[in-house]
């Protein structure tokens, strides 16, 4: 495996829907072991960019490279097996499966005993071990978010893609999730997420990209972004 500092490289992504341009020459790099965030107002193209990186959408042009692998030509299943885990903005927990089964189902390459063991570890890590036998559609919104994170972690991904992980949940749960993410970072997992909650993003990200109307308009650490005029213009 190459030990280049940039684990995920996104180059000149363009995407249009019908006549509308969603992304125009969007580029970013994610450093290994960092917490990187993309923020932007609604309609800025964040979700489109996220889905292109995760493989559920194909760009009109541009490249996405992960540890040497070309992601644009890969299917979502292949991308997952390369070592990228992801969560979804609108919860996609498997409804008629229990929380334990949700995790074990996607524990590829592990036998059932090992998969259950790992699943329980993750559920304990996220402090939701008591939910293991609850059915997917019995969970509250916040619980689903946590289960999704656990599920995405079961294959020990080197990069976690989180789709608006903090949307719609109360501040106490948000802080819990932040703590868990920071622990993951100490374990070497690279975190990449999109969100529009400025407060959290400025707080925990090592590196930030600001997207507005399909363009990356600013990039840097929290202080850089806070003082950037263009960002203020875009948001207000």
């Amino acid at each position: 495996m190459s030990a280049s500092p940039d684990i995920l490289i996104v180059e000149n992504i363009c995407k249009s829907f019908g006549g509308r341009v969603a992304l125009s020459d969007a580029s970013l790099t994610v450093k290994r072991g960092s917490i990187t965030g993309v923020i932007g107002p609604n309609g800025s193209g964040k979700s489109t960019l996220f889905n292109i990186i995760a493989g559920t959408l194909k760009p009109d042009s541009g490249r996405v490279t992960f540890d040497g692998h070309d992601l644009v030509r890969a299917s979502p299943a292949q991308i997952c097996r390369f070592g990228i885990g992801r969560t979804f903005q609108i919860s996609r927990v498997f409804a008629e499966l229990t929380v334990l089964e949700n995790l074990v189902a996607v524990a590829h390459g592990m036998n059932d005993a090992r998969a259950v063991e790992r699943a329980l570890e993750l559920l304990d890590f996220l402090e939701i071990g008591h939910l293991q036998n609850k059915w997917g559609n019995e969970l509250s919104y916040g619980q689903r978010k946590l289960v999704e994170i656990a599920r995405a972690l079961i294959l020990n991904p080197s990069v976690m893609l989180l789709d608006e992980p903090f949307a719609g949940i109360n501040p106490r749960l948000q802080n819990r999730i932040i703590d868990h993410l920071k622990v993951l970072q100490t374990r070497g997992v690279t975190l990449f997420f999109i969100d529009h909650e400025m407060r959290i993003v400025l707080d925990i990200c090592d590196e930030l990209y600001v997207l507005a109307e399909g363009h990356i308009i600013a990039n840097g650490d929290a202080d850089d972004i806070r003082s950037d005029e263009k960002v203020k213009d875009a948001y207000f």
Binding site: A54, G55, T56, S75, P76, A77, I79, C80, R81, R86, F88, R92, F94, A95, E96, L97, L100, E101, V104, A105, V106, H108, D112, A113, A115, V116, E117, L120, Q132, N133, W135, G136, R151, A152, L155
Partner: protein
């Protein structure tokens, strides 16, 4: 261990059953067992993988015609089902790769169209199929037929049992629940769908061939009858989608209802079945057994208990 005991018990029961029933009863059993095979097959693609469709009878009919032609060509009626199954599996492979790209309802209706097209091909290619006149073969010995069909039924129930407690079965359920999410989480959904579809076509093909040995005759209407399709689906739906014993419960329930109601209330029989299906859909949308498992009814085994046992053992070891 439990599985082996159940298997032996089932085989024993099947072996002695004919001693208790006369010819009509044996006939009824053969028909019921055919439906068991059809229902369990449909359960694989419709119940586990979530790709319900209205065209399974196409494989049954194709199997019947291939079987008839083989038997007429001198092949033993015991070997014909194997050839028929191979044929329908191949057709399913080709068809599946094309049709499974369609989403839910379109796949379901598209397969229905396939069944209609097969029916009309059977009508039109009368050089081979003798069109509306139909093909005649020698009727096979009822006792032997019973054992063969019963054997196939035991086979597919056992296969479903193994699938249900395997990772593969769990992955099929994720495809059913949310295919996009499953794929994004590494589940090889295309391969699994097509594989399951092919598997679901094997038994109908074989059983179609056995059916013609039972009836002695096949024509396009009998081979591709919509009623066969709808009864099969109703049985799985009623009994329990994506469960091990659901289809069995469904087959037994509907067969019994059939026997009771058809004799006594033939005029309103259709309505009664319709009402039963409606009530099931409204209150137990995934069928009786699935509902029972969800609501933790006593005496109903929990789904995928093996995972819970692992979890229990691990957590006890930690204490």
């Amino acid at each position: 261990m439990k599985g082996i005991v159940a298997l032996v018990a089932a085989v024993a029961a099947i072996a002695v059953l004919p001693g208790f029933v006369e010819s009509y009863g044996l006939s009824f059993l053969v028909q019921t067992l055919i439906f068991v095979c059809l229902a369990y097959s449909w359960n694989l693609i419709g119940g586990y993988a979530g790709y319900a469709h209205f065209g399974q009878v196409a494989f049954f009919g194709l199997g019947a015609y291939v079987g008839a032609l083989c038997i007429q060509a001198g092949v033993s009626w015991l070997v014909a089902p194997l050839i028929a199954a191979a044929f329908t599996a191949f057709v399913a492979l080709v068809l599946g790769m094309i049709m499974l790209r369609l989403s839910g309802v379109f796949f379901g209706i598209g397969m229905f169209g396939i069944a209609r097209v097969c029916e009309s091909l059977a009508m039109g290619l009368d050089g081979i199929t003798a069109g509306g006149t139909g093909l005649y073969v020698e009727v096979a010995d009822l006792h032997m037929l019973y054992y063969v069909v019963a054997g196939l039924a035991v086979l597919i129930v056992a296969l479903t049992w193994r699938l249900d407690s395997s990772r593969l079965g769990l992955q099929l359920l994720t495809i059913r629940e949310d295919e996009t999410a499953a794929a994004a989480l590494g589940v090889r959904s295309t391969q699994l769908k097509v594989g399951t579809f092919v598997l679901s076509a094997l038994m109908p093909g074989a059983v179609g061939s056995l059916y013609i040995s039972y009836l002695g005759y096949i024509d396009p209407f009998t081979a591709f009858a919509m009623m066969t399709e709808l009864t099969t689906i109703a049985m799985v739906l009623l009994g329990g989608l994506g469960t091990v014993f659901g289809p069995l419960v469904g087959v037994v329930t509907l067969s019994v209802i059939n026997e009771l109601l058809w004799a006594r209330f033939p005029e309103i029989y259709l309505s009664l079945v319709g009402v039963i299906i409606l009530v099931t859909i409204l209150y137990m949308p995934r069928g009786i057994v699935a509902y029972a498992q969800r609501k933790n009814w006593p005496l109903v085994p929990v789904a995928r208990a093996h995972l819970r046992h692992f979890a229990q053992r691990i957590q006890e070891a930690r204490k």
